[in-house]
Amino acid sequence: MSLLENSRKQVFHVLCLLMLAVIAGSTLISIFTEGVQLKIIKDLCMTCVLFTGAVLSIALGATGVPNDVENRTLYPIIARPVARWQYVAGKFLGTFLTVTLGVSALSAVFGGLIYHYQGSFDWFLPAATIFALLEAAVVAAVATTLSTFASPVIAASVSFMVYLCGTIKIGFFGGMLDLATNSTVKLVGGIVYHFLPNLECFNLKAALVHGDSVPTAYLAQVAIYGLCYTVFVIWLGAVIFKHREV
């Protein structure tokens, strides 16, 4: 249901088409980068895939619950024997499946381009796409949870902040925390730091571009981290929504 609803939204179509145009455009840019053509294409295309996943997750996740409340389409659904957590989980899954649809389409075109330029398929691309989707799942979970109590604008803004901070968590915030001398700043910063998702770990762009190998154990660890974080955040959203009056 949420998948049907989300896939009809303008943001989904516009963003997917725009990113397809950028992917197509990357072949033109690569003309001027003799020798590293493929690397440029891979870099640009993977950025598109990651960006699409994150933006769709925020745009669809942050609006799902508030739209249902505002349009009153929520009432007939929760008047059924549906627990609030099932509703929140359904909303999240609808968002995630729509993102998967968009990201998979882009990834398929991206894969076609790699095949065209490289003459063979890059088997690391599906793995990179799956981890991009895991990142999208985390972001969608955050956006969906925020949307259970906040307005779409606030939910989207905070989700975007979390996304931005999450992508520079280790490199930037980690360094800043080490430099902090005030114990309160260190404590509060530490709590925020540990609660923020580490989205950098899902980004396998560098490995894809440079053809580096990534240890399977690391991938498994990251996958478990992503799944656990997503489940925890959605559980939090379900608890909040359970106590919300609608």
Binding site: E5, R72, T73, P76, I78, A79, R80, P81, V82, E245
Partner: protein
């Protein structure tokens, strides 16, 4: 015995800005018997929708408790027994009625094949089977309302909670819905309906409850709720104001029509009025006794 709805001492207070509070429902206790059409009446803001929302666990009560067939409303499985039509229902407009109803039947716990069958049956019952494949966006307000009623029916609920079920329906749709509700009642289901159409409630409901400012002000059969006092309705020819003023020594309610005048008077004053009319040479066209309608009772109780 587990009643379809049992409300005990229910109070709901909303917190408003600057520490103010508003009590929407105040110590409400109601029992809805099984197999009846129950009319839940009250002016706007009386607390009807708040009560319905608490029954369905959309809102949490401040105090008191509500049970549906003896079960707690906080248990989602309780809602397996309930079908709900919200006031002015909104559905995803891109869906077709058959898709929407199948989805609701599936949410009610039916398998996909049973859900499709239940959806078709509900569309048949509400007389909109011809529109099963038309997107909801293209349906009129009345047809959308009927889709809403059909949606409440899927899953074979024992209790139907309908908020303004005939809102937006034309006279044919209204009659169809009325007959459908009677049929559902006759099948043993309980219908809990909130409506402003008092004439309809009077003809349809077995039991009514009237709310005013969150408090229960009347409960019983429509007959119980209406005042037992009768009035005499006396009709004469159209008369001038100065003659009318000579009749106003009694507590007479006078309505002047285009070609006649109707006077309503309590039985103890009727004889005096007839004598006065005779003195003034006013002919008696018609005299009959009249009992308070539910609408009049509602205005008396809820205003």
């Amino acid at each position: 015995m587990n009643l379809p709805i049992q409300i005990e001492n229910l109070t709901k207070t909303y917190k408003l800005p600057r520490g103010r509070k508003k009590t929407a429902v105040d110590s409400l206790s109601i029992e809805v018997p099984e197999g009846v059409i129950f009319g839940f009446l009250g002016p706007n803001g009386a607390g009807k929708t708040t009560t319905i929302k608490i029954i369905l666990d959309f809102l949490k009560p401040t105090s008191g408790n509500v049970r549906v067939f003896g079960r707690l409303t906080t248990d989602p499985l309780t809602r397996r027994l309930v079908g709900y039509l919200p006031e002015q229902p909104y559905f995803h407009k891109f869906l077709k009625p058959i898709e929407l109803l199948s989805m609701h039947a599936a949410l009610a716990g039916l398998s996909s094949r049973e859900a499709r069958r239940a959806a078709e049956a509900a569309l048949d019952m509400t007389g909109i089977a011809d529109y099963a494949e038309t997107p909801i966006a293209k349906l009129s307000k009345g047809l959308t309302q009927r889709v809403g009623i059909a949606q409440a029916l899927v899953g074979n609920p024992k209790l139907l909670i309908l908020d303004e079920p005939t809102s937006g329906l034309d006279p044919i749709g209204r009659r169809h819905t009325r007959n459908l509700l009677i049929r559902l009642r006759d099948e043993g289901r309980t219908v809990f309906l909130s409506s402003h159409l008092l004439g309809e409630v009077e003809n349809l409901c077995d039991v009514v409850a009237v709310l005013r400012a969150g408090k229960l002000v009347a409960y019983g059969t429509p007959d119980d709720v209406r005042s037992s006092n009768t009035q005499f309705k006396i009709q004469t020819v159209r008369v001038d104001n100065h003659i009318l003023n000579r009749l106003r020594f009694l507590e007479v309610n006078i309505e002047c029509g285009a070609d006649s005048t109707v006077m309503r008077v309590d039985p103890q004053n009727a004889y005096e009025l007839l004598r006065a009319m005779e003195k003034l040479g006013l002919p008696l066209i018609k005299i009959e006794t009249e009992r308070e309608s539910l609408e009049e009772a509602f205005l008396r109780l809820a205003a």
